[in-house]
Amino acid sequence: MPLLQVKDLEVAFEKEHEELVFVDKVNFHVDEGEILCIVGESGCGKSVTALSIMGLLGQQGRVKSGEVLFNGRDLLKLKEKELDQIRGNEIAMVFQDVMNCLNPSFTVGNQMAEAIRIHLGYDKKKTKEHAIQLLEKVGLPDAKAVMKKYPHMLSGGMRQRVMIAMALICRPKLLIADEPTTALDVTIQLQIMKLLLELRDEYHMSILLITHDIGVVAEEADRVVVMYAGQCVEETDVHSLFKKPAHPYTEALLQSVPTIYGDPARKLKSIPGTVPENYQELEGCRFADRCSYATKECYTKQEYHEVEPGHLVRCWKGLLNNDKQ
């Protein structure tokens, strides 16, 4: 049984009394100890998916249907109190915006201590030891000094490390990282990503990594889910994603990334157009208008089907595209 299984998740937002489905029947699972990347461009529903797993949608958003099974329990059916037992303890989350992820009124040590006290109920001395140990684990030099600092005295990378340390307090089974490196510069990105990989091995946890950076996917992921316009369009392991992408969107995404290997004369391709507005209303493939392979069959409903074991794609052509090349 997978650790986390998302089944037919549908999330809708209310806008001027109209209900817009932003996440449309999303399916994926995360196995124990693996890193699953959800990749896709801005506004395709990656973060909303993550937030709805954690029950953090807020007032406008609503899960319409579907199941989020964590260790066999449907998180969507739990009461807030029961969910609080799982959040922080078994599932932890790291956010994208490191600037206001920590409470500006308290020191790092104070905030960590509160979380440790509430979750683990340690006494003062043990709490402090645990906090320092965690801060050292995430690679913060001089953890004792960091404990006494206020968030505004830390750099972005340090803050993200503190956030990760706080996420690790209860040794969660699953870490959801919502674009953890987007707000950081490239060298720090690499360090944070390395840190996540190390922690995965040390804590034997699964990571659900949400990103729009295909480079991150190549570095980190075991398996990948590609999302486009609120739907999963492809799911496979990381090797076949890069070797034989089945969905034209994935292929286009890969071609739009510069590489330092390969032919320097290769022209970088871009995907024409933008994500269609009101994509909820489209009947057929939502990528069809931007797809270079589109035919009239593409404007009918597309099934999410398996083309190879463990390789799912939402395109009627399946692996055909690869044969053409």
Binding site: D84, Q85, G88, A92, N103, P104, M166
Partner: protein, 281 residues
């Protein structure tokens, strides 16, 4: 830098406002005088100790009132009462405002609507009239005026707190708290409240000043603190007649000046606090 460092920064910024520092010193002296009134007052404020309406002399530094009570003693006791009324009304209204504002902002939905409509209602009453009616319905006196002022002053605080909660609630660190499974009570009181306390503190100084003025107004109109208990307002009440106004300045000038100075210095301190506590400066 530890928390002490933060306090030092606030103090340093506060010290830049010379007027506020002077005001603060003045206020502290006045508060000490008010507290020590029973010790330092030369006479019992409610007992006749000299001739009627005598001008200032060595025996009675600020003269005596119309029935021969020592004005200096009365003034000290009056300040005690007025500061107490101001402070108590401020504490009550701030408490009500903070609690309602927190609930309103954090729970939202129907609760928010109900609380905010009540707030609008209280705000839309003609203020002095409400206070007068309330003072007439309940027996006028020290505690009733404290409660009345406490009740009319909370809507401002409630709105302020609600607004702050609404913006803080959307911050990522609150989301992170929820994601970390922290209990709601903890999030509300330990995460949101401390971040909204500074503006509330500044607002409370204004409420304090206004409460002192309102007490004076009510007592002046005879609906506030009842004689023989002295308050700054009912000392002024003695100045209603033209003769007193024109020829017996010692009966009303000290009380009037004291009110003005108290209110102005509280406002200066409040302004400086706003600058000192605002982290964005």
């Amino acid at each position: 830098m530890e928390h002490k460092g933060n306090m030092q920064r606030v103090t340093k910024r506060f010290m830049k406002h010379k007027l506020a520092v002077v005001s603060l010193i003045f206020l502290l002296i006045m508060i000490i005088l008010a507290i020590l009134a029973p010790v330092i007052a030369p006479y019992n404020p409610n007992q006749v100790s000299g001739g009627f309406s005598k001008p200032p002399s060595m025996d009675h530094l600020l003269g005596t009132d119309q029935i021969g009570r020592d004005m200096l003693s009365r003034l000290l006791y009056a300040m005690r009462i007025s500061l107490f009324v101001g402070a108590a009304a401020t504490v009550i209204s701030t408490l009500i405002g903070v609690i309602l504002g927190l609930l309103s902002g954090f729970i939202g939905g129907v609760v928010d609507s109900i609380i905010m409509r009540i707030t609008d209602m209280v705000m839309s009453f003609p203020y002095i009239l409400l206070v007068l009616v309330a003072a007439a319905v309940f027996e006028p006196g020290l505690w009733s005026i404290v409660l009345i002022l406490g009740f009319v002053d909370w809507p401002g605080v409630a709105r302020l707190v609600r607004g702050n909660v609404l913006s803080i609630r959307e911050m990522n660190y609150i989301k992170a708290d929820i994601a970390a499974g922290m209990p709601k009570r903890f999030i509300l009181f330990s995460e949101i409240l401390p971040n909204t306390i500074a503006p509330v503190f500044v607002y409370a100084t204004q409420v304090f000043a206004i409460s002192i003025l309102d007490e004076a107004a009510l007592s002046f109109l005879g609906m506030g603190v009842q004689p023989p208990t002295a308050s700054l307002g009912n000392i002024l009440n003695g100045a209603e007649s033209i003769t007193v106004l024109t020829s017996k300045f010692w009966l009303w000038v000290p009380a009037g000046v004291l009110i003005v100075l108290l209110v102005i210095s509280i406002n200066f301190v409040g302004d400086a606090l706003r600058d000192a506590l605002d982290p964005s400066v």
